[in-house]
């Protein structure tokens, strides 16, 4: 059985997740995606690839979209992480989430959390993005269902630029 190593002790990670501070014992080699899913129970954060290739695990780290699957959890000490679960208020979807729902930006829904978080980051810094700006901001997020057409429409619906 895997005995906890004396040499590589876990450390106490202090991290703000979706607005609430947490403290957890975390190994140095633990990826943020595994910490969020397995320790914090935030399974909205998805794993689609073997590292850094699909964007499904995109979360916001201090407001910037990053890939949780190639981010060491312990490097997020004292920082703020936002996941898809943090966007809703009192269980109600944010405008962006609602738009992804209504415009069918989500089909199978597996890329959706990453896609929504990358869109959220875009809209916070640029509330009225053009199609090309949306494409640039979502360039690292793969979707296999939609052909991206309705994803762009979803983001634009919130930007108030939809035709």
């Amino acid at each position: 059985m895997h005995e906890p190593s004396a040499q590589y002790k876990k450390r106490l990670l202090r991290i703000k997740v979706n607005g609430r501070w947490r403290e957890d014992a975390v190994a140095d080699g633990c990826m943020l995606v595994d910490y969020l899913r397995d320790t914090a129970g935030l399974t909205g954060v998805k794993t689609g690839c073997d590292g850094g290739e699909c964007g499904a695990c995109t979360v916001l780290l201090d407001g910037l979209p990053v890939l949780a699957c190639v981010t060491l959890a312990v490097r997020c000490e004292g920082r703020s992480v936002e996941t898809i679960e943090g966007l809703a208020a009192q269980g109600r979807p944010s405008r962006l989430q609602q738009a992804f729902h209504e415009k069918l930006g989500a089909q199978c829904g597996y890329c959706t959390p990453g896609m929504v978080m990358a869109s959220e980051a875009l809209l916070r810094r640029n509330p009225t993005p053009t199609d090309d700006e949306i494409r640039a901001a979502l360039a690292g997020n793969l979707c296999r269902c939609t052909g991206y057409v309705k994803i762009i429409e979803s983001v634009k619906a919130v930007a108030g630029l939809a035709p």
Binding site: E85, H101, Q107, A139, L142, T146, G147
Partner: protein, 773 residues
């Protein structure tokens, strides 16, 4: 049957969509796995060889290893067709591709499981391995399967009409050869399975990513030698399928075997690499296609030879090679069709069904040759298609029934929307337009496992709360089938969709359904849902009639209000009628079913069931491209596509499906391919498998054409596959239009395009030289 153009109804968001956008939808890997062991699979490092020895002693001795299973633990084959199940969940005496499962471990954690795999000793005696069809078919090649001489899994020879007379009657006969690379579904969710075996009751519960919950249930019983009644299979949210999960997969059975061996719960999630290796997607295909054409564009005959490199096991192979021939028909009027198909075994992961199953690569060969010949004859590509339209209702030579046919309208719509007439021949340098047509079945009219049961069954439950619960085995894998069921029930009952709750794919609860494949759900399950709702409505009307002291025929029901006659004074609300209906009866359960009549189940020739369907969807599209001749980079600027789906039950979802399928066709046409290096996958990541990103994905303008199929639910047909096959040929035709260079291979990767440009320039120079001398 005339088609109505487009649909002005907006449609409704998916009934499970809000769970997805909130991040609370639970996929297999998100389920509570408290106490679950971690399962990992040991995979073959060689492409072909005999297993001389497997020694698991060292691994078993490792602390934390709870169970190990090998091929010795399961002597039952599994597969798709009852006649072609030639695959074991773990190899027994021989491995036939790199990555084939050999053994598996359940351990307390990931590290221990991985260390245990490293401690399993396997000795092989290597055999020659074949990675292309030609090598596998060589006379002296070692057979992958002793009963398949020449390593040909299935040969098909079909001949309809007078092929020689057809070619003799043609003004122009041309033949060309195209090669389409193998591709993969690449659904974003990696494969995963959570299996729970209770050693006390002997029951097995499996939660899994399957599109075919019923077949999985069946195969688990077979491979674990269990009574079916002791098994339950549940489908949580599924992150896409596209055919990847349309047959039972080795890891599913292996996880269940591990759970039984461990006497508990085992969770297995495959890596992306393993998900690619599990494969079952579109085979590498060589097509030689010959077409006869009159000066006015009429087809006179078509001869087609298809060779599919199917991988190491049967899987869906026989079906795929039959589809490739059967779907030559049902789109256009062709007086004579000859088809020769060869499904070849090779030492690569087994291919299977993928969106557009079987039809895509032959359609590509056909539609690109039509354009070559149209150019030669000076005909407009639209005119050639229009010269060969079918007239519904009709039956094709190979016994396929065409009951509704909106292709003419599809052609009109995309011709107009793309500005084809004004723009073709006037495109700036490096830019081109191309078009193509395609079609697909709305469900295979003959199920794989013939049992005599209906093709689809739905249960509706109505109780004191006034909520209608639809129980369906149809697997919603993101395509929106549960929403379709809810709409079908709600519209038939004339109540709001909020009153309907859909429970899908739990074999302990929902009636058996064959699953999400061959675009069968809307047509078959939709019809069953309407049938069930009609049966429920009868009960409600009878109850209302009794309460209102009227004859049931007098009861008018609209908007959830029941009254005597239209505009009658006495009325009952839906809840009042439900209360009345429950009196003396209690909770109501009704059922609806649907069966494809035997006359729709295909021709009498061998293999004639494949391709048979109650209704074909039809698509036409125009693709606009730019080609950078210096680098060979192809850009898709825009797509206009029209799909005749009979009737759009949910126009929003139909548009989403049209966009998605066209885009998936674009991936195959432009950049996706699976490649192997001595049998090892060189594409098994999302970096190396080039699924298009949002950056190079164009705007797709989708139009719905409604031809109102006489047998479809509300007139509907399938809407998820019919337009896919049109993209690759429309793109290749557009590339020719842009730069005058023909491509014989897809995908049109920049290296292939540049090579074709260089070859073309060489040819042109040679011709000029000849002309001078």
């Amino acid at each position: 049957m005339t088609a109505a153009f487009a649909s002005s109804r907006p449609g409704v968001p998916l009934i499970d969509g809000i769970d997805k956008v909130l991040g609370r939808a639970r996929y297999t890997a998100d389920l509570d796995r408290a106490g679950a062991l971690v399962g990992r699979i040991l995979r073959s490092p060689i492409a072909h060889g005999e297993i001389v020895r497997i020694d698991t002693a060292r691994a078993r001795a490792l602390d934390g290893v709870i169970a190990i299973v090998t091929g010795a633990d399961c002597d039952k084959t599994y597969g798709v067709l009852p006649i072609a199940m030639n695959e074991y969940p773990m190899a027994r005496d021989r491995v036939r591709y790199c990555g084939e499962p050999i053994a598996a471990v359940a351990a307390v954690d990931e590290e221990t499981a991985q260390r245990a795999l490293d401690l399993i000793d396997v000795e092989f005696r290597a055999l020659p391995a074949y990675f292309i069809s030609k090598d596998a078919r060589a006379p002296d090649a070692v057979l992958l399967h002793a009963n398949k001489p020449g390593n040909v899994e299935r040969e098909v020879h079909h001949d309809f009409g007078d092929i020689e007379a057809g070619f003799a009657a043609a003004d122009l006969v041309r033949e060309h050869r195209v090669s389409c690379a193998e591709i993969n579904h690449a659904q974003i969710e990696p494969h995963a399975c959570l299996a729970d075996f209770d050693p006390v009751t002997g029951r097995l519960t499996v939660q899994d990513v399957s599109q075919v919950v019923y077949y999985l249930h069946l195969m688990l019983a077979r491979c674990l030698d269990m009574d079916e009644s002791q098994i339950r299979v549940i489908k949580p949210f599924v992150g896409g399928g596209f055919g990847a999960r349309v047959e039972v997969l080795n890891f599913e059975i292996v996880t269940a075997l591990l759970a039984r061996a461990a006497g508990g719960r085992v969770f297995m999630q495959l890596t992306r690499e393993e998900t690619f290796i599990t494969h079952r997607a579109r085979p590498q295909t060589d097509v030689v296609l010959k077409l006869g054409m009159k000066k006015d564009g009429r087809f006179t005959a078509c001869a087609c030879e298809v060779t599919q490199r199917g991988g190491a096991y049967a899987g869906y192979g026989v079906v795929t090679i039959l589809y490739a021939g059967a779907l030559l028909q049902g789109l256009y009027d062709i007086p004579a069709v000859k088809y020769d198909g060869y499904r070849v075994y090779a030492n690569l992961p087994p291919c299977g069904a993928m969106r557009g199953h079987g039809g895509v690569n032959t359609r590509h060969a056909f539609e690109t040759l039509v354009d070559r010949m149209a150019r030669e004859l000076g005909l407009d590509p639209f005119a050639v298609r229009r010269a060969n339209l079918l007239h519904a209702p009709m039956q094709t030579m190979n016994g396929l029934m065409v009951q509704s046919y909106g292709l003419a309208e599809c052609l009109d719509v995309v011709e107009q929307a793309s500005g084809w007439k004004e723009r073709i021949g006037r495109m700036p340098p490096g830019k081109g337009l191309g078009m193509s047509c395609s079609h697909y079945v709305s469900g295979s009219a003959k199920p794989i496992h013939f049992t005599g049961e209906p093709h689809a069954v739905i249960h509706l439950k109505l109780d004191h709360d006034g909520g209608v619960t639809a129980l369906t085995g149809a697997a919603d894998i993101g395509q929106g089938s549960s929403t379709m069921v809810a709409i079908a029930v709600a519209e038939t009952l004339e109540v709001g969709i909020d009153r309907i709750r859909v429970i899908s794919s739990d074999t302990a609860v929902t009636p058996k359904d064959n699953g999400a494949y061959s675009s069968r759900i809307t047509f078959m399950v939709g019809n069953a849902a309407i049938d069930a709702a009609k049966n429920l409505k009868k009960i409600l009307i009878a109850a209302a009639a009794k309460k209102l002291e009227a004859h049931p025929d007098e009861i008018d029901c609209a908007g959830g209000i029941f009254r005597v006659g239209r505009g009658g004074q006495a009325m009952l609300s839906f809840k009042e009628v439900v209360a009345a209906a429950l009196v003396d009866e209690g909770a109501i359960s009704v059922k609806g079913s649907f069966t494809c009549p035997v006359e729709f189940q295909g021709g009498k020739h061998r293999g004639g069931a494949v391709g048979s369907t109650m209704g074909f969807s039809y698509g036409a599209q125009v693709v606009e491209t730019s080609v950078d001749e210096a680098t060979g980079m192809v850009t898709i600027d825009k797509v206009w596509v029209a799909l005749d789906c009979g009737h759009a039950i949910n126009p929003l979802a139909v548009k989403g499906q049209i966009e998605g399928q066209v885009w998936m066709g674009m991936g195959q046409a432009l950049c996706e391919e699976t490649r192997y290096l001595d049998g090892l996958p060189a594409h098994a990541s999302f970096l190396d498998y080039k699924m298009p990103t949002i950056v190079e994905s164009p705007h797709i303008e989708a139009f719905i054409v409604e031809s109102n199929d006489p047998n479809g639910p509300f007139g509907a047909k399938e809407a998820s596959e019919g337009a896919l096959a049109g993209f690759p040929p429309a793109m290749v035709n557009a590339i020719v239009n842009a730069i005058g260079v023909e491509l014989d291979e897809i995908p049109a990767t920049p290296d292939r395009v540049l090579e074709a440009i260089v070859q073309h320039q060489r040819k042109v120079k040679l011709a000029q030289k000849k002309a001078r001398s």
